[in-house]
């Protein structure tokens, strides 16, 4: 069985890859290259792409900015109820997207729990681009937070201790040691959150609506096209896949790193 293990690993990866990529490829098979280009030429699609890019990047920035320190705290402190907090972080995942949108409305909508406070502060989210960002953060943040927590947990605490003795406070230790040491896990979490945000549909629709150039991201534009122009919707999906692949891949190549520990020092 030991000898068969490496082939088994390769088999597992091949099966996983095939299963995950064939359906994605199938979209392209159903789409002629001409249609793909047409989609790109369509101003509605271009608006949606541009909006998707802006809102997902903004959402990602918020997630990274708030989520990274929050995850660090979760990973480095032991306190009673930690498992509960982690579960709370995971819960938004189990909400079907439309329910997530309703939940956001119930919390932040005009009649929501915090709606009055927001209104008093002059903050409008519903049906606004800001609302798209809120919806994206809500659905994508758990992926990053959970992943980042696991990545920080795996950082060697003695390196953090060493940093402290070298005069670096907790902030500097976090920025200069913990984050770089956890970077591969953080990168994975970022990719997951970004991917999830790029594909997000239901919560955005429910919370922010669908209005060209304001709240209509690519997934909403795809839906809009579904009934009228099915091939067009597929073509736009294909465009989304291509753009996302380019984004995700380029980030990976830009932040590439290597250098695994040798076995015998």
């Amino acid at each position: 069985m030991s000898r068969a293990f490496a082939p088994l690993l390769v088999l597992a990866l091949a099966v996983a890859l095939a299963f995950l990529t064939v359906p994605v490829l199938a979209i392209f098979v159903d789409t002629s290259p001409g249609r793909l280009l047409d989609s790109l030429g369509d101003p509605v699609a271009r608006d949606a792409l541009w909006l998707s890019l802006r809102t997902t990047l903004l959402a990602l920035a918020i997630i990274l900015l708030v989520g990274t320190p929050a995850a660090y705290l979760l990973a480095t402190r032991r306190f009673p109820g930690r498992a509960l907090v982690l579960t709370l972080v995971e819960l938004p995942l189990v909400l079907p997207p439309a329910v997530a949108g309703i939940a956001l409305l119930a919390a932040l909508g005009p009649r929501g729990l915090l709606g009055g406070a927001l209104q008093d502060a002059g903050i409008a989210l519903v049906l606004q681009t800001a609302g798209v960002v809120v919806a994206l953060v809500f659905v994508a943040a758990p992926f990053y937070l959970r992943q980042a927590e696991a990545a920080f947990s795996a950082v060697d605490p003695s390196q953090l201790a060493a940093s402290r003795t070298l005069g670096a406070g907790e902030a500097r230790t976090f920025a200069r040691v913990a984050v770089p040491a956890a970077r591969s896990g953080l990168a994975a979490g970022t990719a997951l959150a970004w991917g999830r945000a790029l594909g997000e549909f239901g919560a955005t629709l429910m919370f922010a609506g669908s209005f060209r150039d304001i709240t209509q991201t690519v997934p909403l534009a795809i839906y809009d096209r579904f009934a009228e122009d099915f091939p067009g919707a597929l073509a736009l999906s294909a465009v989304l896949v291509c753009v996302s692949a380019a984004l995700l891949l380029s980030v990976k190549l830009a932040t590439r790193h290597d250098g695994r520990r040798g076995a015998l020092a």
Binding site: I102, P110, V126, L127, S210, F211, F226, A227
Partner: protein, 234 residues
């Protein structure tokens, strides 16, 4: 029950528009539960059928999708089996809008179905029958074009918009959270629902029986009970 083509004894598999959920479930129960029902957006169901999925019956919230699929050879000849009334929906409590006329006012926010889904295209048809000035003013207040009627209902119940155009059955489903403001008859606010038997259906006989019951029988009764109208005369 796969070999039951001719006998038609297996449960009939029905893909139906989400708004038909209540009526069809009641119909299926009345006829002994010999039907398997799946509800989704009409356009999503159409997409499924285009990809080769083979339910026995396809019931849409408009007539356009069955017609198109018929032309594409995916389904048999469609039939109109029910009508649904488009209404102006507003929150039951604290509504800012009391009538169609107030829709054009400044600061009113409206959600409508997007042009590509049945409820959205009906909404546009109806608004098109208004004076051009009023139509433009109302459309200018539209803040969201929803590919799913759920989006309109959700926003209304949560007060995220002031008004929206949905079917009267959708308002009933909110169990009193929304109230319907009837539209003037002159706007012809009724939309027609079309049904067709899918080509290559595994249970064509049962499918035929199911469709027949919709047109005139227990299905038609269930539809009326759920608030659907008889098929509008063309």
């Amino acid at each position: 029950g796969d070999s039951s083509d001719s006998g038609g004894s297996g449960p009939v598999v029905v893909s139906a528009a989400a708004s038909l959920k209540g009526a069809f479930t009641a119909y299926a129960e009345d006829t002994g539960g010999n039907a398997r029902l799946s509800f989704a957006g009409s356009d999503e169901l159409a997409a499924q059928i285009r990809q080769g999925v083979r339910p026995d019956v396809f019931a849409a919230a408009n007539t356009k999708l069955p017609d198109v699929l018929f032309e594409e050879g995916e389904v048999g000849e469609p039939q109109v089996f029910a009508g649904n009334r488009l209404v102006l929906a507003v929150p039951a409590q604290g509504a800012k809008v009391g009538s169609l006329d107030e829709l054009a006012g400044p600061g009113v926010t409206i959600a409508v179905g997007s042009a590509s889904v049945p409820v959205g295209s009906y909404t546009r048809d109806v608004l098109g029958r208004l004076p051009a000035v009023q139509e433009r003013a109302i459309l200018a207040n539209v803040r969201s074009q929803e590919p799913d009627v759920k989006g309109v209902v959700g926003k209304l119940t949560q007060g995220a918009v002031d008004a929206g155009f949905v079917y009267v059955t959708d308002v009933r489903a909110t169990k009193g959270a929304l109230k319907a403001i009837e539209l003037p008859k002159g706007l012809k606010p009724s939309g027609a629902y079309g049904v067709a038997i899918v080509k290559g259906a595994k249970h064509p006989k049962a499918a035929k029986r199911f469709v027949a019951g919709l047109l005139d029988g227990q299905g038609a009764d269930a539809l009326r009970k759920a608030g659907f109208e008889p098929p509008p005369s063309p």
